[in-house]
């Protein structure tokens, strides 16, 4: 089954490129530490999912590039073409001349309706290239205007036109400070709209990934390209093929569907985060060896102590002894040390994967009181090594990990809203105060719901 990616705005397009490049590179990596036949099956599975074959033999990404100004898409298209290994489709790009100016309302209410038909046609053409469409992967930032506003608009349209297909929005959570001043407004508008039209929100925080680049990858002068490569690596570690059943050699047909069914069935809990281990610079990798037990022990502690990377994990955090649900908002203010999960998915890739013991993730104390580990925990595996790592593990988690950042964003936006600052920029394009209030209401509920696990 295939996934059609929609890359929106500067951020979405820059990341999209890195994602396809990472997927392609990994699946064509000669040393996957597995048999030739298995490698071929892995490659074929990856290809069916993310690339379509074109006449000249160069695979073409199943992706649509959308931006409201031409610079970034032009650059992205030519970067892919220059790689010579894969490219974007000939008619896969839609861009305009003038961006959304960081204004969600402009992207959503002006660009959206104006270009709805062209964009949806483009998407339909890409969908028609798939024998079987599993769903859409929509990459966007939530701080800007095009990714966030137009992204929300396009997602809503996809929901209307392809109601049976799955929609996962990959959202880049802005740096807490210093990207866009109206990012909190744009974020709450984006999140609340996606909560209504998307099936899952896979969130990457710029701050967290930035730290990974600094601490784990040892990059001195970190560029957005470095950050996007880490993001792409994490996404690849989740969406590259895995066996459908333990012990089988069949690769999973519909990872998007399986993932969602296991992680986001509840309408109030749609936010997913990724953690992976190991992640390091190529230099350090040469001197490292890993055991499954060690990796999984770290990964588990990363989960429960809510650390985004293996460095600086707080080993003091332990699952609580009694899992009495706390009611009321009081629990948010007290230090949220233990990160309660709703559901988790662990993906293991590499040597001796069958021997990995996942008992640590099946502890009921890790989960909310209303789901048992049997319902809340899943594992996917493949013997085929990912990227350069002989063994690697990734965790997709629906947990309280975003509770604090979300609460912060809602709080800041609310403060601004109470002062009526910047509202005129939005009302100019047809958004009303009522719409803001709707968004606040919905997200306050999401905060409360995650809080009351």
């Amino acid at each position: 089954m295939s996934v059609v990616t929609v890359q929106l705005g500067q951020c979405g397009n820059q990341i999209g490129f890195e994602v396809f490049d990472a997927l392609y590179t990994d699946s064509h990596c000669p040393q996957g530490l597995c048999s030739k036949r298995e490698n071929e099956a892995y490659q074929a599975s990856c290809k069916e999912r993310f690339f379509s074959e074109e006449e000249n033999g160069v695979p073409s990404a199943r992706a649509i590039l959308v931006d409201m100004e031409p610079k970034v898409t032009n650059q992205t298209l030519s970067k892919a073409a220059q790689s010579g290994r894969w490219k974007y489709g000939q008619h896969s790009c839609f861009c305009q001349k003038q961006g959304s100016g960081n204004n969600w309302a402009y992207g959503y209410s002006v660009h959206g309706p104006r270009h709805e038909e062209s964009i949806m046609n483009l998407i339909q053409k890409e969908v028609e290239k798939c024998d079987s469409l599993s769903g859409f992967f929509i990459i966007m930032s939530m701080a800007g205007g095009t990714g966030s506003g137009l992204g929300a608009f396009v997602t809503q349209n996809l929901q209307d036109q392809y109601s049976n297909s799955l929609k996962m929005n990959h959202i880049i959570w802005p740096y807490e400070t210093g990207e866009v001043i109206v990012q909190n407004y744009n974020s709450i508008l984006t999140l609340s709209h996606l909560y209504r039209s998307s099936d899952a929100l896979l969130v990457h925080e710029n701050d967290a990934v930035h730290k990974i680049c600094a601490k784990l990858m040892n990059i001195k002068q970190i560029s957005f390209s470095d950050i996007n490569q880490v993001l792409a690596h994490q996404l690849g570690s989740v969406f590259q093929p895995t066996y459908s059943v333990e012990g089988s050699c069949h690769y999973r047909r519909n990872p998007l569907g399986d993932l969602m069914e296991n992680l986001v069935p509840h309408p109030e809990f749609k936010m997913l985060g990724i953690r992976n281990i190991p992640q390091m610079s190529e230099n350090s990798l040469a001197y490292s060896t890993f055991t499954w037990a060690g990796l999984l022990k770290h990964l588990r502690q990363m989960l429960i102590s809510n650390s985004k990377m293996e460095e600086g994990i707080d080993w003091q955090v332990r699952p609580p002894l009694s899992r009495l649900p706390t009611l009321g908002k009081a629990s948010l203010n007290r230090e949220l040390q233990f990160n309660t999960s709703i559901a988790n998915l662990v993906i293991l890739r590499g040597k001796d994967v069958h021997s990995a013991d996942l008992g640590g993730f099946k502890d009921p104390a890790l989960y909310t009181s209303w789901l048992k580990p049997i319902n809340a925990f899943n594992v996917w595996k493949t013997q085929r090594a990912f990227s350069k790592y002989e063994k690697s593990a990734a965790l997709v988690s629906n947990s309280q990990f975003l509770l604090k950042p979300l609460d912060t964003i809602v709080g800041k936006a609310w403060n601004m809203f109470a002062s009526k600052a910047y509202i005129h920029q939005y009302t100019k394009f047809g958004l009303e105060e009522e719409d803001f209030l709707d968004s606040f209401t919905l997200l306050e509920q999401v905060v409360a719901s995650y809080c009351n696990l």
Binding site: Q10, Q14, E69, P70, K71, V72, Q75, K97, Q98, G99, S100, G101, N102, N103, G145, Y175, E176, T177, G178, E179, V180, I181, V182, H210, C213, A214, I219, K220, Q221, I222, S223, F224, S225, I227, L327, K329, V410, G411, K412, W414, N415, M416, A418, S419, K420, A421, Y422, H424, Q425, F440, T441, E444, Q445, V447, A448, N452
Partner: protein, 475 residues
Amino acid sequence: MTQSVVVQVGQCGNQIGCCFWDLALREHAAVNQKGIYDEALSSFFRNVDTRVVGDGGSISKGKICTLKARAVLIDMEEGVVNEILQGPLRDVFDSKQLITDISGSGNNWAVGHKVFGSLYQEKILEKLRKSAEHCDCLQCFFIIHSMGGGTGSGLGTFLLKMLEDEFPEVYRFVTSVYPSGEDDVITSPYNSILAMKELNEHADCVLPIDNQSLFDIISKIDLMVNSGKLGTTIKPKSLITSSAGAVKKRHQKPFDAMNNIVANLLLNLTSSARFEGSLNMDLNEISMNLVPFPQLHYLVSSLTPLYTLADVNIPTRRLDQMFSDAFSKDHQLIRADPKHSLYLACALMVRGNVQVSDLRRNIERLKPSLQFVSWNQEGWKTSLCSVPPVGHSHSLLALANNTCVKPTFMELRERFMRLYKKKAHLHHYLQIEGMEESCFMEALSSLSGLIEEYNQLDATKSMPVEDFPRLSVAM
């Protein structure tokens, strides 16, 4: 890609404009080495086949033929414009872009605004329309003028209202040169106050510049260079005040260096919209991020570095110094001290080899020393443009929406009041048709209203930051 049209009004406006076009050509020549007319060039220049009669055929692709500035030059005297037409930049303009008169506005806002306004309205409109027709996506008008004189201040602000009516969706960015205290134009307080009301009402963003600050900056650099302290280590032609190869070599005018700074400001302001970068910032993002309330659209700007050291490898220390300088009182293009006032919002537009980590490190470093309004504690907007200015490895333009502009406005009001109490020179204004005393009163109350808004914000400075009670979810 979008296009912008520069409208330069009056002597000051045209002089700055002239510097701007010179620098813009040099910048594009440095980046665009193949001589191909590209999208970046198209934002300020048309490519014209001069052999085609009439309008000159616009060429959208291919080799550069003749570049024409997207500009409208207005002055009610002929001097400066004629000088430009005889100078090296003459090919960039053609006569169809010019509007001149011979009588001048006599340093009287009312003459510029009311007399020439109604006289030239049709003609100006026609030129503006023409220039807009040459754009396939016109995004912004840059108006360059001074506040103190007659033409720039009067006709320049008249123009604003016209643009608003005629092109409501196109942004209006105004670069306004404010008179210094010891201005030689006696009526400049009147002119400025009357112009301020128009700026309040019809501009999207105003970048106030003040001659005194520019002069101080230049003196300081001169001192440093000439004292030999930096003399040998400064890279040639890297002074942003220098106008090497520019308009006039014959007799360096006193204002040239100052105008160069302003021209650089405009260039850097638009660089992220013109060139590639890992974090783009379009022009419409400026007002979106920096203007929280419609009237508070005065942005204090600062440019760093003002020169580049000859050593190409920038140590982090130098890079960080660039950020520190941008916030110092000495680098502001208007006499103001943002560090000790209240920030509503702040933008950092970086060019050259600077990465997001450098940006973040400096924001974290500087944040504690700056005070932001309670509801916008993280009021930072950033951009990274990969193309540095000519002769530099990197540069920073900081734009601050900060209550530090208030003293300039208050001083203006004081000077106005001093004059107005004596009714000095008032008759020059009142004799113009359509001018009444109420015009002065309205202008005054508009300015006072603005000052009051800043006052109220300043008043929150000493108050503890308190969150507004959030919506309370029952369950």
